[in-house]
């Protein structure tokens, strides 16, 4: 179960993984090396990590959530554009 800030607690199958959410370098000034890192290299950690998910079958909001990559526990989800007031 993942708790969407807009929709509440929903089954994980409603959500889709959307990447590590690493910051995008400025394409105008980034070196080819930095750009390559952004495109391909992944941290792929085996513990707690913050990643990007989308409430695919739901409100469609992108969420930043903390997940443990070995136990699959999820502990905090925030909407990328800001949580509801």
């Amino acid at each position: 179960m993942i708790t969407c800030p807009w929709c509440g607690s929903r089954d994980t199958s409603e959500f889709a993984y959307a990447g590590e959410g690493n910051p995008r370098p400025d394409p105008a000034t980034a070196s080819p090396e930095a750009w390559r890192r952004y495109l391909y290299v992944r941290r792929n950690p085996d513990g707690w990590t913050t990643e990007l998910w989308r409430h695919r079958i739901g409100c469609g909001t992108y969420l930043r959530l903390e997940r443990h990559r070995t136990t699959d526990e999820v502990r905090l989800a925030r909407a990328v554009g800001g949580d509801p007031a």
């Binding site: 889709a16 993984y17 390559r36 391909y40 290299v41 992944r42 792929n44 990559r69 070995t70």
Partner: protein
Amino acid sequence: MSRLPRYSAVGLLRRGVTGRRWPVVWRHRDLEPSYDVIVIGGGVHGLATAYSLAKNHGITRVAVLERAYLGSGGSGRNTAIIRSNYLTPEGVRFYDRSLKLYETLAQDLNYNVMFSQRGHLTLAHTDAALRTMRWRAEVNKLERIDSEVIGPADIAGLVPELDVSSHPRYPVLGGLFHPPGGIIRHDAVVWGYARAADALGVALHQQTEVTGIDVEAGRVRGVRTNRGSITAPVVVNCTAGWSSLVCDLAGVAVPITTYPLQAAVTEPVRPFLHTVVVSGTLHVYVSQTDRGELVFGAATDPYPSYSTRGTLEFTESVAAHVLELMPSLAPLRVLRQWAGLCDMTPDFSPIMGRTPVEGFLVDIGWGTYGFKAAPVAGETMAELIATDRVPKLIRAFDLDRFADGRLVGERGAAAVGH
């Protein structure tokens, strides 16, 4: 094969009659302070690399370090399918060499690996899948691989249990048939390589976890383990699942994301399925083992994880997809399910060869196709270590291709839906 007796039918009979204990298959050795080559990962890739180093190049001061027991990772979790009908010419050549090595592996290792070349059939349910299949068949034929597109009538002849009518939601429009493909006993491959490598002098260290990799001035010096430190001028990362974490120890960043892939077996039934049946659209592959169990494999899970637990979603979807193909299997019960870890790369091709750290080599990123590649991966990695030249077969799979934009898009991989 110096110390160990060779296996033979006569020997099997004699031991069967006399009930004498079988000799130890490989030895336990003490960890020495230094080796010529350290191989991290006691799976089929690491063992094949160590075996090839000793057999082909006479390099026997080799240590294979395994965190758990030999073959405990992907080598014992895959669905044991061997084929070479990939899509890219690089992939086809590479896997075909592997298939050829598998064909003679039992003789080379003096170990029955039970390779059954029963044919491999990939089904197309959409025009797009059929188009990719024709493309694959043409690439395969150019590389002299036995591979052709066949129609529903021929498919029904090969696998009568398949529903080739127009009723299913995903009707069978055609298939790519690859007669040399088949299945093998994956544990036997691991044990055969381990036994042969041990006999040639390779040291196999189980329950030996690498906790650090020592790098000085851009050169690898050795590794630290839970049993002490060892030095070596060459360290090869042959792990799967944890390969990016091992690379992190050496400070090498790699484009890998780890996804679980789940599989399941049913209770055993009488032999009826004589071909490996795969559907990319339905994300399922089915084969029947010598014991009669049906083995089901799927695509990777939808999110990255190091968890090897099974999920109900997988069981439900694989059952639904198998029944879509073969409705007569409905009464069969699933015995067990498991997951293995797949190191996915952006282009579904492996990463093999040198890294920015001198002496630290990688044989990683094997995604969903590692097991079938093991013999050729071992052969080419050993050649690279012994000759310090990158073999032609793996030149396209270097780590630098991501910087230079030379990706090898392998859409013939099992994880890719067409």
